[in-house]
């Protein structure tokens, strides 16, 4: 009995010494095998215990198992130490200035980003997002919006016509106002983002296709006014450019609104001081708007005696141009990855 006890003690001492002196993981593994492996010294002792009387087996077994646990623990500790020091050697002289490995992330189009921002702002103010077709009839694009045939006002919109059936490419997303009001009862608040087309020569500021966002709010008579429009649109610009933006309303003319106005905002580039972007005026024309013309309400079967509201239209490309300080609208449709991958 004492013999076994002594043997165990001795074994524990030498094992501990061996473990502490292990220089690398391989040594440590050998030491593990020597003592704790299938034919290891301690394993053999543990196995021999079965020949002892039951009482002694219990006490000696307890001691032997405790030693086994202790050894396993310090082997583990020694292992961590050795690993850490080996990493340390590897890590010395590590060059953090080597360029990071490029991760190939994709890019959304700047107009997608602008559209999302605009939608988010208006949705937070209770506006639903609605879409409509790009090919339109003359009725929806013009007549229903109080722009009669053979009226010079039609010249305000240079229009692409299709060879088929008197159809055209919509010149604004305003037709969706009509389509929506035909199917939905007021009060209503919508914005309509989408692609529109103009038959005009392209340059840095003009494109044959571009993006519009139309807004419409209709409520009971006396519930929605020019003052309300100013508040909504002011809030929009403030959130869109993330700073206080001065706006001003100028008289304008649109057949589908009365009164009509043009909204200028303080040039975001020079903050109103005057620069090449705003032609030294400090102001940039951004948006057309007005109070919905009674004829438009009538065209969708609403009685102007009970309903009124405002509508506005803003060029998304222009918003993007101001937000990202882009000089040429044509970049949006040129597919140049050097441009697109900046967003």
């Amino acid at each position: 009995m004492i013999k076994i006890h002594m043997e165990l003690k001795k074994l524990e001492i030498t094992a501990r010494k061996d473990i502490k002196s292990a220089k690398n993981l391989k040594d440590l593994d050998d030491i593990f095998k020597k003592y704790l492996g299938k034919k290891g010294e301690l394993t053999l002792i543990l196995r021999s215990l079965k020949n002892l009387p039951i009482k002694e087996r219990k006490t000696q077994g307890k001691i032997a198992n405790q030693i086994k646990k202790d050894l396993e623990l310090i082997i583990q500790e020694q292992k961590h130490k050795l690993q850490a020091s080996s990493f340390k050697i590897q890590d010395t002289g590590f060059d953090i200035t080597v360029p990071g490995k490029k991760q190939d992330l994709g890019h959304l189009h700047p107009l997608t980003l602008v559209r999302r921002k605009v939608e988010e702002i208006f949705q937070s103010m209770g506006f639903s997002v609605v879409e409509g077709p790009e090919v339109e009839s003359e009725w929806y694009n013009f007549d229903a919006l109080n722009i009669p045939k053979e009226h010079p006002a039609r010249d305000l919109w240079d229009t692409f016509y299709l060879k088929q059936k008197k159809l055209l490419l919509r010149t604004h997303t305003s037709p969706v106002q009509i389509r929506y009001m035909e199917k939905n009862q007021p009060p209503l608040r919508i914005i309509v983002p989408g692609r529109v087309f103009r038959h005009e020569a392209t340059d840095a500021g003009h494109e044959v296709n571009f993006y519009h966002i139309e807004g419409l709010m209709i409520d009971k008579k006396g519930k929605v006014s020019v003052a309300n429009f100013k508040a909504i649109i002011g809030e929009f610009f403030k959130r869109f450019f993330e700073k206080e933006i001065k706006i001003r309303l100028r008289p304008s003319y649109f057949p589908f609104t009365e009164p009509s106005f043009e909204i200028d905002i303080n040039c975001v580039n020079c903050l109103g001081k005057g620069c090449s972007v705003c032609a030294q005026t400090g102001w940039v024309e951004t948006l057309g708007a007005g109070m919905v013309h009674p004829n438009v309400l009538k065209a969708v079967g609403l009685n102007p005696k009970f309903w009124q509201g405002f509508a506005f239209g803003v060029g998304m490309d222009r918003l993007a141009i101001m937000k990202y300080k882009i000089q040429d609208i044509r970049l949006f449709y040129g597919g140049d990855l050097r441009f697109l991958q900046q967003f």
């Binding site: 189009h109 639903s128 010079p152 692409f160 020569a201 020019v226 100013k230 109070m291």
Partner: protein, 680 residues
């Protein structure tokens, strides 16, 4: 439109604000001033007159009226006293010339005056200067005077040499078939039958409301002139100038409509001016054809509505003051009432409903004085737009996969059509009536052609290109005329990108909650026939993927191989689902066994997979292909597939014995076909 600052000043006794300042005031209250430019001692103001205000503001008097309303300065209309030649009884106008109007709709008023004994020569300096500033050509004192009065009053005028008018009769009629005219600028025009003309008994003298002709031109020898001031229908003039492609200062004014009562005022003014600068005697009386006299109308204005619409309280007193400043007169009896009756002078053709008046009140009051106020509205949460939701989601997934989004033009050219479209499709392409260029003659029937152009442009700068577009395409449809639908199309460059593209589609569909996906062989012209597949969800085709054929790449100078996928977004969207159901993670370990099988070349992976899955049943959790090999070391006509088979049970740890049994079963099933051999 160009205006002269000095000319405008001439209507005011007091000094006008300086040109720059005046421009600013007008911009904020009336019309945008595009440019202020000093020319000599005068300033050119380029004023962007709004189209509805053309009838009263395509004139210096109109702008003077605006300035007066905004600034409160009084203006004076420079109407002169008419010096008719009453002393001579034989000088009655109607004895000199007669008029006949054949089309009373196209010409609702025709006013004429005759001046005898004029001396044609140069205009005085002030007229020459003002016309020059406004960009008009100087002709002679008679023609210049007519032009001058047009710029002053807005009424286009014309002067004929009476001695050149055959039969001394002016006829206003539609042109006859084959009639021609040579205009003052020596251009020859063929007149279509719906074009309104001024003619004598023999031939056309002028294109009504557009341009005068050579036949009765004023020249140095002209002694007696007939002045014309008429009101022609806007539609008629507009159609004619579009047809003739001839826009003039006169046509511009007529097609925007004019005050029918303006002719008399303008013709008298012009006659006096001619008499003053070219001498001559005005004959007695006006020859005036006037179908139906137009009187000022009245608009009822609800004072409370002004506040309701503008959102600012403006006192009735101020409302009346503003309206009066514009020459709009509230009836005296109505002043005490809540509803005002406002009399509208006939020159304000743009005012017809009370909202029009509220606009006048608003802009003169000043929009900047309206304080922003948030609306008080019922709280209705915005509706969710599911279309937009999926568009957003799809774009995000592709972005995460490393794609760059592009927006291309909605147009394509002839070549694009012929390259990509089979004959069947060609007829379905939508052509524009008025394309801007041959490059943009058709609406795009697919997104691929423009995306390929993007590749061509970028290939020198980027090694690998992954781009996509989500946009509308157009084809002619039987029911609706034009069928437009949203397509999702992506393009990748690189060798052997088919499987990578397929993997992208798999991930995309998986993220969209779509599981039952199948790929079928298909032949599309655009693709190499072998490397092309139709994508099916629940057995329904939603799109294709494949490699672009070498011929097309060569035609477009694309040097790299290109793989494309094109998905009908509307069809795709029907299968999308936001639902995600959590699958419990098995508590028991999985085991992986490898299996390699040699099969004839024509056998497809899916055939092998099906057999493994059927034989292995529920305990086979997944089978992953990790290698396909054919070539050396393998007998000809065969290929080798290697799979990892993952075994797992939901309720226990599988013993290796159990796994052996299933694996054996799978092997036996595969080897039922004598051509198949599992490699051990």
């Amino acid at each position: 439109m160009i205006f002269s600052y000095n000319w405008l000043q001439s209507y005011f006794k007091k000094k006008l604000p300086k040109p720059e300042k005046l421009a600013e005031i007008l911009t904020m209250r009336s019309f945008e001033i595009e440019e202020v430019k000093k020319t000599g001692k005068d300033w050119r103001l380029d004023i962007d007159i709004l189209p509805n205000r053309a009838p009263d503001c395509f004139s210096h008097i109109g702008i003077a009226r605006e300035i007066s309303a905004i600034t409160g300065l009084n203006y004076q209309d420079s109407s002169l006293i008419l010096g008719e030649n009453i002393s001579r009884p034989n000088g009655k106008t109607k004895d000199f010339v007669s008029i006949e109007i054949k089309d009373k709709i196209a010409c609702s008023r025709y006013t004429a005056r005759v001046i005898t004994d004029v001396k044609v020569g140069e205009s005085p300096k002030y007229i020459k200067e003002r016309l020059k500033v406004c960009g008009l050509q100087l002709i002679n004192n008679v023609v210049d005077a007519a032009n001058y009065v047009m710029l002053e009053t807005g009424q286009p005028m014309h002067a004929f040499d009476l001695d050149k008018i055959s039969g001394k009769k002016i006829i206003v009629r539609k042109a006859k078939k084959g009639e021609k005219i040579i205009t003052l600028d020596n251009n020859k025009y063929d007149l279509a039958q719906d074009i309104l003309i001024i003619a004598d008994e023999k031939s056309p003298l002028a294109i009504a409301g557009i341009k005068g002709g050579k036949n009765a031109e004023i020249d140095n020898k002209t002694k007696t002139i007939v002045l014309e001031a008429a009101n022609f229908e806007a539609k008629t003039i507009r159609k004619a100038r579009q047809k003739l492609k001839l826009q003039t200062d006169a046509s511009l004014r007529f097609e925007h409509c004019l005050d029918i009562n303006l002719t008399e005022q303008a013709i008298n003014r012009a006659a006096c001016l001619i008499q003053e600068i070219a001498g001559g005697k005005i004959t007695q009386g006006l020859v005036d054809f006037y179908v139906k006299k137009v009187l000022p109308k009245t608009i009822k204005l609800d004072v409370a509505y002004v506040e309701q619409l503008l959102g600012v309280k403006i006192s009735k007193k101020e409302v009346i003051k503003i309206l009066k400043s514009l020459g709009l007169n509230p009836a005296k009896s109505g002043i005490k009432l809540k509803i005002l009756n406002i009399e509208i002078p006939t020159f304000r053709l743009d005012l017809s409903i009370q909202e029009d008046l509220i606009e006048e009140i608003g802009r003169i009051y000043g929009y900047e004085r309206i304080k922003p106020v948030f609306p008080l509205a019922v709280l209705i949460p915005p509706k969710r737009n599911i279309d937009c939701f999926w568009q957003k989601k799809v774009k995000n997934i592709l972005k995460e996969t490393g794609f760059t989004e592009v927006y291309n033009y909605s147009f394509v050219n002839e070549k694009d059509i012929s390259v990509y479209q089979s004959n069947k499709h060609k007829t379905a392409v939508i052509e524009l009536e008025n394309p801007l260029s041959a490059e943009q003659r058709y609406l795009r029937p697919c997104l691929i052609s423009n995306l390929l152009k993007n590749i061509q442009k970028n290939q020198k700068l980027f090694n690998e290109i992954k781009i996509f577009e989500l946009g509308k395409v157009f084809r002619s449809g039987i029911k609706t005329g034009v069928e437009e639908k949203r397509m999702l199309t992506g393009i990748l460059t690189g060798d052997d990108m088919f499987y990578q593209t397929k993997g992208i589609i798999d991930s995309l569909l998986n993220k969209l909650g779509i599981s039952n996906v199948l790929y079928n062989n298909c032949k599309e012209l655009i693709h190499c026939s072998q490397k092309c597949a139709e994508i099916k969800i629940n057995g329904k085709g939603i799109g294709i993927l494949g490699e672009i054929s070498a011929e097309i790449l060569a035609q477009l100078d694309i040097e790299k191989k290109v793989c494309v996928f094109a998905i009908d977004f509307e069809k795709l969207q029907k299968h999308c689902s936001e639902e995600i159901m959590y699958q419990p993670i098995s508590l028991y370990p999985s085991a992986v066994r490898d299996l390699a099988v040699l099969v004839p070349r024509e056998i497809k992976v899916v055939d092998v997979l099906n057999k493994i899955n059927i034989a292995g049943k529920k305990l086979v959790r997944d089978v992953a292909l990790f290698d396909i090999y054919e070539g050396e070391e393998i007998q000809e006509g065969k290929k080798n597939f290697a799979f990892h088979i993952i075994y797992q049970a939901e309720n226990r740890t599988l013993t290796s014995k159990e796994i052996d049994i299933i694996q054996d079963k799978i092997i036996k099933t595969l080897e039922k076909d004598p051509e198949w051999e599992v490699r051990k």
